[in-house]
Symmetry: C2
Subunit: 338 residues, 2 copies
DNA sequence: ATGAAAGCGCTAACAG
DNA sequence: CTGTTAGCGCTTTCAT
C-alpha cells in the first residue's frame, strides 16, 4: 500500500500563486477573499485533491470536531440483542449529526480498553465525552472533567461529588413505584423483584423504588439480583420460584431480564398473568414481541441520548446556560402481563 | 468549563531537568535511557499528569492508532433490532481490541454525513478504513485506497475494478442454492422469493442464487423485492400472496424480512410450514425467537467482522502477505419453517 | 546516553 | 484584501 504523498497547503498555495494564509482562509470559508483568488484556490485544491490534515489543524485550533461516547462494557454486551445501547447511540447520533460532529464510539469493557479509552480522551482526541452504562464509582468522568474536557453522563454518577459531573437520567424511582402500585391495585400481595446489578445507579434506584413502595403498602419484600441480561433473568426467576413458590407477581428491573423471567415462569407451568403478573422496565422492542407482550415501565432512552449529546455540545461550545443535569420522566405501560 | 492548560513535553523536561528528546524517549519506551533519568522523567510525568498530545504526535508520525468502520446507513438502521450490524461490529471490536487500536464507528446514512465521513477519513484521522453494508457503486472505498489509505470492504464492492479493494464476503450463492434445493427436495414447486435490495451485492447475489437454482430444477420463478427490513418483508409477502395465492414456499433474502413474511403469512391464514415453507438468510437471533423458529442460511457475520479487521490491520502494518479477499462459507440451518 | 535543532501542516495575529 | 511570521507539541536525525 503506497502511502501517496498528500498535497499540503503549501502545494496548493504555490499552484494557485498565493500565500498559505490565503489558501487557509479559502478552505475555511473566510468571506474576506477576492472572488477571483478564491476561485483560483478552489481550482488548485480540486486539481491537487487537497484535503486538510486534521492533526495539524487540531494542533493549533485545539479542536477535533469529534465527540466520544464511552460505554464501559464489552462490545458483545453493547451489541447483543439488548436494544438499550443502540437506542442511546441512536439518540446521540441524531444530535451530533445535526451539529456536524463526528461520533467516536468506544467500548471499554476490559481493564486494558478502559485504559486505552482514558488515554485516548486525555490525549485530546475528542472535544467532549459522554458516558453511558457506568458501573460503580468510575473515576474516569471526574478525571476527564478535571482536565477541562466537557463530560456528561447518562445515569447519575456514583462518584463522591467532589467534582460534580453533569448527567441525564430518568425517574427510576417514580416508574418503579407506579409499577409496584399497579401490581398492588391488581390485588397481588406476594410481589417479588429481580433487581439490576447493584453497582449501577439504575439497579440501585429501581430496587429502592421497589422497597419503598412495597413498604408503604405494608407488604413483604422478596429480592433477587441479576445483571440486566436475559440469562440472568432466567436464573433469577428460577431462584425466586424455588424460594417462594407462591409468589403472585414480580417486578423485573429490565425488559431483557423480564423476557428471561417469562421463559422460566412458563417452564415452571405458571400462567401469565393468571398465576404470576410480570412488569419489566425499559420498553425496548423485545417487550412488544414477547409472548405475552410485556407490561413495562417506559423510559425515553433515545431522548436520554439526545439530551446528553445536547449537553456536551453546549459545554463544548461554551454556551452559558447548559442545564447541568436533567431527569426525564418514565411511564407505566400496561400490556398483557400485568 | 475551564480548559486547564495541559502540561507539555517541555514542562516535563524542565521539571525532570532533561531535554524534550529524552522525555520523548522515555514516554515512548526507548531502552537507551539511563535508569535514573528514566525514573526521574516518570516521576515528573506522574506529578504533572502529563498525557501526550495525539495531534502533535500524529502530525509527525503520520499515525493515529485508530481504525474506522464506516456504515453507509442511518444510525436508526444500524441500531434497529436487526442484529446484522451489531454482529459485524462485535467481530471488528474483538480484533481491534487485541491489536490495541481504537475503533471509530461512523454512520453515513445521509449525503451530508457521507461527506463528513469522507473528509474525516481523508484528513488522516484514521490509519485504515473498513466498510460494511455498501450500496451501489460507492466511490469512497476506491477514493480512499487511491489516497494510500488501507481499505477493506465487507461485501464484494460493486465498483468497476479499476482499483480493486480487498474485501471479505460470504458465499451467498452457495447458501441460497442449498436453501432452494432443500425446498425442491421437500416437494415444493411454486417457490417464490423476497429478494434484497438490488443496489447491494448481498441482494443481487442471493437473487442470482435463487434464479439459477430454480432454473436448474425446471421451476418457474416469482420474485419480489424488499430492503432487508421487517416492514418490507411484510409488504413483500402480501404482494406475493395476492399475485400468486397458491405459492407453497418462499425463500426470503434476510431473516428480518422473513420475520415480517411470517407475520403476513399468518395474517393470511396460511399454516407454516404446512401450506407455505419459509427459509430466511442470516441466522440472527430473531430467527430462533420467531414462531415457529425460522429455517435459514447461516452466514458467519462475526467472522466477517474479524476477518475484515485482520485484513486492515495487516495492511496498516504493511505485512506482506495479507490475503486480498476472502469468501467465507454459508450453511443451511433447518428449523421449523421448512 | 543525551541534547540541539529541524521540521510535521496548519492557523492566527499582525502588518501592509 | 493578502502576505509574513510565529508557533501549536511532538518525534527524530545528527552531533556530542
Amino acid at each position: 500500500m503506497v502511502t501517496r504523498e498528500r498535497p499540503t497547503l503549501e502545494a496548493v498555495a504555490r499552484r494557485a500563486g498565493v500565500s498559505r494564509a490565503t489558501v487557509s482562509r479559502v478552505v475555511n470559508g473566510s468571506t474576506t477573499v477576492a472572488a477571483t483568488i478564491r476561485d483560483a484556490v478552489h481550482r488548485a485544491v480540486e486539481e491537487l485533491g487537497y484535503v486538510p490534515n486534521q492533526a495539524a489543524r487540531s494542533l493549533v485550533t485545539q479542536r477535533t470536531e469529534s465527540i466520544a461516547l464511552i460505554l464501559p462494557e464489552t462490545a458483545s454486551r453493547v451489541f447483543s440483542d439488548d436494544l438499550f445501547f443502540p437506542a442511546v447511540i441512536r439518540g446521540v447520533s441524531i444530535e451530533l449529526e445535526a451539529a456536524n460532529k463526528q461520533l467516536v464510539l468506544m467500548m471499554a469493557g476490559s481493564a486494558a480498553s478502559h485504559d486505552r479509552v482514558e488515554r485516548y480522551a486525555m490525549a485530546g482526541h475528542v472535544d467532549g465525552v459522554m458516558f453511558a452504562s457506568m458501573h460503580g464509582a468510575d473515576p474516569l468522568p471526574g478525571a476527564l472533567a478535571r482536565l477541562g474536557i466537557p463530560v456528561v453522563c447518562s445515569g447519575r454518577p456514583m462518584t463522591p461529588a467532589e467534582l460534580p459531573v453533569p448527567y441525564v437520567d430518568v425517574d427510576h424511582f417514580g416508574g418503579v413505584a407506579a409499577a409496584v402500585r399497579h401490581l398492588v391495585a391488581l390485588g397481588r400481595r406476594r410481589i417479588a423483584t429481580i433487581a439490576g446489578p447493584q453497582d449501577m445507579v439504575a439497579g440501585i434506584d429501581r430496587l429502592a423504588g421497589y422497597r419503598t413502595t412495597l413498604r408503604q403498602a405494608g407488604l413483604a419484600e422478596h429480592v433477587t439480583v441479576g445483571d440486566f441480561t436475559r440469562e440472568s433473568g432466567i436464573q433469577a426467576m428460577r431462584r425466586l420460584l424455588s424460594e417462594q413458590p407462591e409468589l403472585d407477581a414480580v417486578f423485573v428491573a429490565s425488559d431483557m431480564m423480564a423476557h428471561g423471567a417469562l421463559q422460566a415462569l412458563k417452564e415452571s407451568g405458571r400462567h401469565i398473568p393468571g398465576d404470576v403478573a410480570v412488569i419489566g422496565f425499559d420498553d425496548v422492542e423485545i417487550s412488544r414481541l414477547s409472548d405475552p407482550p410485556l407490561s413495562t415501565v417506559r423510559q425515553p432512552i433515545v431522548d436520554m441520548g439526545r439530551t446528553m449529546a445536547r449537553q456536551v455540545l453546549g459545554l463544548v461550545a461554551e454556551e452559558p446556560d447548559v442545564p447541568t443535569s436533567v431527569v426525564l420522566p418514565t411511564e407505566l405501560v400496561v400490556r398483557a402481563t400485568a
